[in-house]
């Protein structure tokens, strides 16, 4: 009879402990939400200060970006131009190679071959970006200069090629997941109609996995746009409007690095520019990430 109250209090204690643990864990889970809020808050605050000094029209209509010079100009387009140029070129490397690699891994490779090839792609994906930057500057650039002598020491193409190979494994692995999710029955139906393996892969499996592949592609573009160290090392510091990949350019990320390395005083206009540029970058990648996420959700629903 005496055991009863103590057991009750034990139960109560356990329940209190349970609630406390749950609350703490929820708090940990909220850190990510706070991070997003923090990013938006910091970017927004400094960007608002920036736009008090510089008008929207100047930012979006001017065609020159020279905040660190005496004659300050704040047209964002040269930086966007550099970013898009490098990202687009990187995609020329990463998308076809990545998709082909995914098709080979998912549709043709035997289990044994997969086990040999996969670790290489994983290592390729795990190499720090600063290493790719070194590789671009000391290996790819000299190579390009021997083919196209007019290539500048810092140029968009060299950074883009290194970036392409850096992103290739991401494209390959995400596309492979999408291909893998296509049910067997679709493949077998196509075989039964007399299609060859390659025809099944390209005319049945790839179209069926298209939204997943598109999601992978968009994510790849987003990574290329946000990639920093390769372009900071190999692509140069000259913001300009050009489509010539052999010229020196500057990307949004490289600009942020350039300012961060210098002794730009806090509260100065140049200091605020990196947040305005960061805001632009954040919005661009956010848009792409959301699009990619929605596409993945869609293709998951089809076959489950």
């Amino acid at each position: 009879m005496q055991a009863l109250p103590s057991r009750l209090s034990l139960l109560r204690r356990r329940r209190a402990e349970e609630r406390a643990v749950k609350a703490v864990l929820l708090l940990f889970a909220m850190v990510s939400t706070l991070t997003t809020l923090g990013i938006i808050y910091v970017l927004f605050q400094e960007t608002a200060l920036f736009f008090r000094e510089v008008s929207f029209a100047q930012f979006f209509l001017d065609t020159r970006w020279t905040p660190l010079f005496l004659s300050q100009r704040f047209g964002i387009w040269p930086l966007v131009n550099g970013t898009v140029l490098v990202a687009a070129l990187a995609m020329v490397v990463a998308l076809p190679l990545g998709l082909l690699a995914a098709i080979f891994m998912s549709e043709f490779a035997s289990e044994k071959v997969r086990r040999i090839l996969k670790p290489f792609l994983e290592i390729l994906a795990g190499i720090p970006t600063v290493v790719y930057g070194y590789f671009a500057l000391t290996f790819i650039t000299p190579l390009l200069r021997s083919i196209f002598p007019q290539t500048q020491v810092f140029n968009a193409a060299s950074a883009a090629i290194a970036m392409g190979f850096m992103i290739l494994p991401t494209v390959a692995s995400l596309s492979e997941d999408a291909l893998y999710a296509v049910p067997r029955s679709l493949r077998e139906a196509a075989y039964a109609l007399g299609a060859t393996r390659w025809e099944v892969a390209t005319q049945v499996v790839v179209p069926a996995a298209l939204s997943g592949i598109a999601a992978a592609f968009i994510l790849a573009v987003s990574r290329a746009v946000g990639e920093t160290m390769i372009v900071a090392i190999a692509a140069g510091q000259q913001p300009k409007l050009t489509l010539n990949p052999l010229e020196s350019i500057e990307t949004m990320t490289a600009y942020i690095v350039q300012v961060s390395l210098g002794d730009t005083p806090h509260q100065s206009l140049a200091y605020m520019t990196i947040f305005a540029v960061g805001m632009m970058l954040f919005l661009m990648t956010l848009g792409m990430n959301v699009a990619s996420y929605m596409l993945t959700q869609r293709y998951r629903e089809v076959y489950e």
Binding site: V31, S32, T35, V42, G98, F104, G126, T196
Partner: protein, 291 residues
């Protein structure tokens, strides 16, 4: 009705030949990636060879390549890795446990999940701007190791949460049901059963996340991690530098000798990363349970 006039032409040998050619092309795509990887590794190693010597570990950075070393960068990287691990492990694993084992299926949970998925895709340099605005200026931590640790923790949290959730999900429901049937509370079930079985996977994910942290450069540059540090860091409030920043610094120099120093630094960095990956694979094989 032109579409119906298509005649069936089997011509199987030709179609199969085309398939084989494309299959070869697809294999070539992978081999190209591997070729780039091997070229990169061999080049870096050969470039760095002359500077791979004891002084690389014992000397501070210097204006003279022959006297320069990685001492402060190595110490900074170790400090950063240990402190980031201490902070991000409880936060990331805790968040993963909450979302996988406790969270009700409602709008708030979905919001947190979408948030994490999105954060994983935010460029790391944006985290640097967050760290600059929030930790360096906002909290007044300055360009300290602590500011770097906090920033890097936020960078790798999404990775840890995702891998923790995957490891927890791999534990079969029967284990949970057995524990609950014997009267365990939810937390007791997680702590004494589910976590024990999934620890291999969680630790593997943790090591992989940390290996990302020590290679990450951009956010630390943005918060202003200095490159010229000629003393041993004593604590979390000291200014600091890390391996990839020192490498970046050397790559940015015009002289060839500094490029070779950078290559030597890269060899060290890659060696650390590869051994961490090997450790992760070993852990996975040893601790991970197959059901």
């Amino acid at each position: 009705m032109k579409g119906y006039e298509v005649r069936f032409e089997p011509d199987l040998p030709r179609r199969q030949a085309v398939g084989r050619i494309w299959q070869g092309v697809a294999l070539l795509a992978i081999l190209m990636g591997i070729a780039v990887l091997l070229t990169l590794l061999v080049r870096v190693f050969l470039d760095g060879l002359p500077y791979l010597r004891p002084q690389l570990f014992t000397e501070f950075p210097s204006r003279f390549p022959d006297k320069a070393g990685l001492r402060s960068a190595l110490q900074g990287s170790i400090w950063l890795m240990v402190l980031t691990a201490l902070l991000s492990f409880p936060l990331g694993v805790g968040a993963g446990i909450y979302l996988e084992e406790f969270a009700p299926k409602n709008a708030i949970t979905r919001f947190i999940e979408i948030n994490i998925a999105n954060l994983a895709g935010v460029p790391s340099i944006i985290y640097g701007l967050l760290g600059l605005g929030l930790f360096v200026r906002g909290l007044g931590l300055g360009r300290s190791l602590l500011a770097g640790v906090l920033t890097m923790t936020l960078v790798i949290l999404p990775v840890i949460i995702v891998s923790t959730r995957e490891s927890l999900r791999a534990v079969p429901a029967s284990i949970r049901e057995a524990a609950l049937a014997l009267g365990a509370s939810r937390w007791e079930m997680v702590r004494d059963h589910v976590l024990v079985y999934s620890m291999g996977g969680i630790l593997t994910g943790m090591i992989l996340a940390l290996s990302r942290a020590i290679g990450e450069t951009a956010p630390l540059i943005t918060i202003g991690a200095l490159t010229y540090i000629a003393f041993d860091p004593r604590g979390p409030l000291d200014i600091f530098t890390v391996l990839p920043i020192q490498i970046f610094n050397w790559v940015s120099m015009p002289q060839e000798a500094f490029h070779r120093l950078a290559a030597a630094g890269i060899v060290i960095l890659l060696a650390v990363l590869l051994s961490m990956n090997a450790l992760a694979i070993w852990l996975r094989n040893r601790l991970q349970k197959r059901w």
